[in-house]
């Protein structure tokens, strides 16, 4: 039953799933609470465009993906600040234009590259040792940053005016959050793929949102769902020969709908005496 642990590719896949699931679902709490779901989606496609360009120009994919992802996230943030157009329209334009870039870059390649499509759909079982090290390293950086700034990020998500009035550098932290989203998307590309990484950011946190009224508890539940479903997705994909990314996302979706129809959503509501 546990013979899969003997395979190095499975060890790498499980470690990667643990970190990607955990980081995406923690950061996802801020994405959901701050209403940045569309920015997450746009960033994923921009990062994929960066990967496609890197294969076209023979440059390191990680660097290109991070550059494209961060620039798109910041552009979306600036558009939100300016508020000259409705945010869904602005992000929609960014979203489609970066996807157009990705398709253009792929079209300009002289040969078909299966590796590029690996970043679109994800392939956690083919994560190499060096890729896993980068994913773990970036995860630790993101976790450390979240630990350092979580109280301020919660405050901004709840009440930006009050946070600013309290002397919290709200704008700086908003752009830090956008940067973290971009880096998280990039580190998840190989494992989950540009098409589905958005779901990893969104679904565990949205499920947790249904189950509690407490910020702390929402965060813990989201992280637990993210890790358990990611690791389970890898195991199911190994046992039943399924693609791991969609399996993980569909597991998360199932939990989301279960949470949605649970009769007693949002517990911990003691009657005031």
């Amino acid at each position: 039953m546990l013979e899969f642990l003997a395979y190095e590719f499975m060890q790498r896949a499980l470690i990667t799933a643990f970190f990607v699931g955990g980081v995406c679902s923690w950061l996802g709490v801020f994405v959901v609470l701050r209403g940045l779901a569309f920015i997450g989606a746009g960033t994923a496609h921009a990062a994929f465009a960066g990967v496609a360009l890197s294969y076209l120009l023979q440059i390191p994919p990680l660097l290109a993906a991070i550059t494209f992802g961060v620039l798109t996230a910041w552009a979306a943030g600036l558009l939100e600040e300016k508020g000259r157009m409705k945010l869904d329209v602005s992000i929609g334009i960014l979203f489609t234009s970066t996807m157009a870039m990705a398709i253009l870059f792929i079209g300009l390649m002289k040969a078909y590259s299966a590796e590029v499509y690996g970043y679109l759909f994800g392939s956690i079982l083919s994560v190499t040792p060096s890729e896993m090290k980068i994913i773990v390293l970036l995860s630790i950086v993101i976790i450390s940053t979240l630990l350092a700034f979580s109280k301020e990020l919660y405050f901004i998500a709840f009440d930006q005016d009050m946070a600013e009035a309290s002397g919290i550098p709200a704008r700086l932290l908003f752009f830090l959050l956008l940067t973290l989203i971009a880096v998280t998307v990039v580190l998840s590309l190989k494992a989950i793929g540009a098409m589905l990484v958005f779901a990893m950011l969104l679904i565990p946190a949205s499920t947790a949102y249904q189950l509690t009224h407490s910020l702390r508890r929402m965060t813990r539940i989201s992280i637990a769902i993210g890790i358990v479903t990611s690791v389970s997705g890898v195991l199911l994909s190994y046992w039943f020969d399924l693609p791991s990314g969609p399996t993980t996302v569909l597991l998360q979706t199932t939990l989301f709908f279960i949470a949605l129809i649970l009769p007693q959503r949002r517990t911990n509501q003691p009657d005031p005496s």
């Binding site: 109280k151 405050f155 009035a165 309290s166 919290i168 509690t212 009224h213 407490s214």
Partner: protein, 267 residues
């Protein structure tokens, strides 16, 4: 003799001197000269767009004067994170808060400690004790684990006042604290603010559009209309000849005082 003189002089905690504040396309406050003394309860009134909220944002350091100066505790506080700002508690206008945000009452009040603690410093037992005391001060100590979104409008305002108190402020800025709640609760909230003013010796600035509701509670009324139009005892400020110059035809005299026609207060 010198000591007696010092005791007689009230200490200015906030001092505007010829201060002008411009927003993107307009002058929000022009040449404001205003001193707020330690321990005062001051009401700020004025029509829509008169600069009521702007003056609070200026005190908070979210806006800097284009000309003139504004000092808090004798400090210009041009740095947003100046330690003097931590001595100012703030209750923003209602309206931007998501009622479904997953947050408990105690988590909300603890946010008042975040600015005091500063970056990289986590909230500890001492902060929790201060937050619980703030909840007790507003009479909501039994609600600490209750979902914030399920409280009534009046209860939510109490929680926000507790959050401001958790900063352990010397000055409390309240922006339309009675908006969107029923008349009985409005009085309860103002009674609470008056009690906190007395018991905690707080200096309070309260912005409101409801000139009749606030006047019995405050020591002084400030009437704004971009410029500082009137400043003094509520009885002296609430004169028809003064109000009609600012509100124009909108001012209506009734048995219960003055009514501002078509009153919606948001700036």
């Amino acid at each position: 003799m010198l000591k007696n003189l010092e005791e007689e002089q009230p200490r200015h905690v906030i001092a505007f001197s010829n201060a002008t504040y411009n927003l993107t396309h307009t002058t929000a406050l022009k040449e404001i000269n205003l001193d707020i003394n330690e321990g005062e309860f001051v009401g700020i009134i004025g029509p829509n767009g008169s600069g009521k909220t702007t003056i609070l944002r200026a005190i908070l350091g979210l806006l800097l004067p284009q000309t003139g100066t504004m000092q808090i505790f004798d400090c210009a506080c041009e740095n947003l994170r100046c330690h003097h700002r931590a001595r100012i508690g703030y209750l923003p206008q209602k309206g931007k808060i998501d009622r479904n945000f997953p947050i408990t009452v105690i988590e909300t009040v603890l946010m008042g400690r975040y600015g005091v603690r500063g970056l990289f410093r986590q909230i500890g037992k001492k902060d929790k004790a201060i937050a619980l005391q703030a909840l007790e001060d507003v009479g909501m100590q039994n609600f600490q684990n209750y979902p914030f979104g399920q409280l009534s409008g009046g209860q939510q305002q109490r929680i926000f006042i507790a959050r401001a108190l958790a900063q352990q402020p010397q000055v409390l800025l309240l922006d339309e604290p009675t908006t969107g709640i029923d008349t009985t609760t409005q009085h309860t909230i103002l009674e609470l603010v008056r009690r906190l003013h007395r018991e905690l010796q707080l200096t309070i600035l309260l912005v409101t559009h409801d000139i009749n509701l606030i006047s019995p509670f405050v020591d002084r009324l400030v009437l704004l209309n971009t410029r500082l139009f009137a400043n003094g005892n509520p009885r002296d400020v609430l004169q028809y000849k003064i109000l009609s110059q600012v509100y124009g035809d909108e001012i209506i005299v009734t048995d219960n005082g003055y009514v501002i026609g078509g009153d919606s207060h948001h700036e």
